[in-house]
Amino acid sequence: MALIQVEHLSKTYKKGDNKIYALRNINFDIQEGEYVSIVGKSGSGKSTLLNLLGGMDTSAEGGVYYNGKNLLTMSEKELSYHRKFTVGMIFQSFNLIPSRTAIDNVKLPLIFSNYPIMLRETRACELLYNMGLYNRALHYPSELSGGEAQRVAIARALANKPKVILADEPTGNLDTATSAEIIGLLKMFNEKHKITIIMVTHDKETAHKVSHKTILLSDGEIIKITSNRNQ
């Protein structure tokens, strides 16, 4: 059974009397441990789809099933649980809390998940160490480079050991070298820890290079799903 099943997923906006489709009849499956890229132009519905997969948005028709449970019908509490333990989110603009140091940002999901207090520091240090940021642990986001900030965000997303990482244009604000570094990190986690990665990106070339599956979206519809089983 697929880890994620998206069935007849549609999302509409109302503009005056007109109904505009942000997503129209989307169907696909994602297996556990897959690296999936969602590509398309701006406004094609990539981020909308990712938000629905992350349980950040539930106002849509159809179904987004995780292990058979539909996110769109979950209660607020169940959605919080989903965001806490099932998925980890990475954003283009990093979304680190500026008033908290790198280590405190990584500890934040551990606080919400009731992770044992004594072990939080160790867990956060371990994650930052794996990201090569051990020496930047006590720095504030404003003192970090873009690549460092995104690595802190990845560490934070991995804190509660989620099955899935949802990355919304994670390299959008980074230079080519740093982008490659971040993509490499995600690929490493996917291969080494079998974490499912769903990444939204503009960059078709990178998507094809790293993903097992690429979903091409245009005007809210799936144009093509490409499998790269050799990845």
Binding site: G54, M56, K77, S80, M89, R100, P109, F112, S113, I117
Partner: protein, 446 residues
């Protein structure tokens, strides 16, 4: 999420905008300061009045009268109820019977005579009052200084009230007055002058009579002592009865042709052994047909008045606190707007609406706690200073140092608790608003 986590998160958030937090907490401190000082003022005033009354034996004393006098104030004027019911005369046998009651410490007939007193060449018009030996253990006679109470019912000595000395303008040291002679000049009938009246010369048939007695002690009363002991000079009953003076009540009897109808005296002062016995003694005396007045009897009325005073002062004190509540609401709403994205991030990381709410409740609680602690400290400081000023300004009128503000630990504890509770209440709306923030919308606004 553990409580310690919520406290740390809340404290972190408050630390980020220290100036605003301090200003909000200052608002709460002003509110709690005014509330706690007002409550302590109310408590202080009521406690002090009660204490003063108690130490002045006002709650163990009652006054009985042969005439029914409306002390309850159901009408504004004193009613002599001769026409309403038969008056029972206050006789020696009644007095002796009351004295024999187990609950009664002493009972004595009021014997007051108007007189002019002369000492060190200065004089004043006052009253001489007979006070029995048993009264030596009651206020104010248990606090005679300098000197002492007389030791027999016929000792030719007097106890002087400090008020009378002040009235006379005597400035020499009180110690030097002990043992000095005092002249007591009373008015007596002059039978020789009665002829003069018949010869139509307008001159009263009275003359002066001078008695010389020794000063045995000086008594200083507080403003709360019973009227009879406040002013005048006090003598042993027998000594007092030997001083000749026109008894106006006798004249009243003679005019009415009903000599002795009202007994030997108008009023009897009774002291019970304990406040708890007051009601029983009062009922027994009333059963005998006499009117009784006691301040202790009015204790419930006093308590009602004190409760009202406390309530009014608490309401006045709460006004500043209510204003500070708006400060908390404002601070937290500002925080929501500023931390909208942060709340969105927290929700995207799995924070529940309840956890977001609790972070805001605790922020308010911390403001309330800090404001409460500083408020209580400010309240204590202000009340201390105000109390000192009041004592220094009123010291001339009130002879003892009064603690106007009763700042008890209960007031401290409940003020801080109230401050925290009110702050949490004030945070309900902002916390609810914060918990409902849509993470998607919050993260979109960059």
């Amino acid at each position: 999420m553990k409580i310690s986590d919520i406290i740390l998160l809340a404290a972190d958030n408050l630390k980020r905008n220290v100036f605003r937090t301090v200003l909000t907490a200052f608002g709460v401190a002003v509110g709690i300061g005014s509330l706690s000082s007002m409550i302590s003022l109310g408590k202080g005033v009521s406690t002090n009045i009660s204490k003063q009354m108690e130490s002045n034996d006002l709650f163990t004393g009652l006054t009985m009268s042969s005439r029914s006098i409306d002390f309850d104030g159901s009408s504004n004027k004193t009613i002599l109820s001769d026409e309403k019911k038969e008056t029972v005369p206050l006789t020696d046998s009644i007095l002796n019977e009351i004295r024999s009651w187990e609950e009664v410490a002493t009972a004595f007939a009021e014997q007051i005579k108007p007189a002019t007193i002369k000492l060190e060449g200065k004089s004043a018009v006052t009253n001489i009052k007979a006070i029995p030996l048993e009264m030596s253990s009651f206020y104010p006679f248990n606090k005679i200084n300098p000197g002492s109470f007389y030791s027999s019912e016929s000792e030719p000595s007097v106890i002087l009230s400090k008020i009378v000395l002040d009235k006379m303008g005597i400035t020499s040291s009180l110690d030097s007055l002990i043992g000095q002679n005092i002249e007591i000049i009373t008015r007596v009938f002059d039978l020789d002058k009665i002829d003069l009246i018949t010869s139509k010369k307008k001159q009263l048939p009275v003359k002066n009579d001078t008695t010389i007695l020794k000063i045995k002690g000086i008594v200083q009363t507080s403003s709360f002592s019973a009227g009879i002991f406040n002013d005048g000079i006090f003598l042993p009953p027998l000594t007092c009865s030997f001083i000749p003076s026109i008894d106006l009540r006798n004249v009243y009897d003679i005019i009415n042709g009903e000599q002795g109808k009202y007994g030997k005296c108008n009023t009897v002062h009774v002291r019970v052994k304990d406040f708890s016995m007051l009601k029983t003694v009062k009922l027994r005396i009333e059963d005998k047909g006499f009117s009784v007045f006691s301040i202790g009897d009015k204790l419930e009325d006093f308590e009602k008045i004190f409760f009202m005073l406390d309530t009014v002062l608490a309401v006045i004190g709460s006004i500043a606190l209510i204003i500070s509540v708006f400060g908390i609401v404002n601070t937290l709403i500002m925080a929501i707007y500023e931390r909208r994205k942060e709340i969105g991030i927290m929700k995207s990381l799995g924070a529940t609406a309840r956890q977001i709410k609790f972070i805001f409740y605790f922020e308010a609680a911390i403001i309330g706690f800090v404001g409460g602690v500083f408020g209580v400290l400010c309240g204590k400081l202000v009340s201390q200073v105000s109390g000192n000023i009041a004592n220094s300004q009123l010291g001339n009128f009130i002879d003892s140092n009064i603690e106007y503000f009763a700042f008890s630990w209960e007031i401290v504890f409940f003020s801080i608790l109230f401050s925290v509770a009110v702050s949490i209440l004030a945070s309900i709306y902002p916390a609810d608003k914060a918990s409902k923030i849509d993470p998607l919308n919050a993260l979109r606004r960059e």
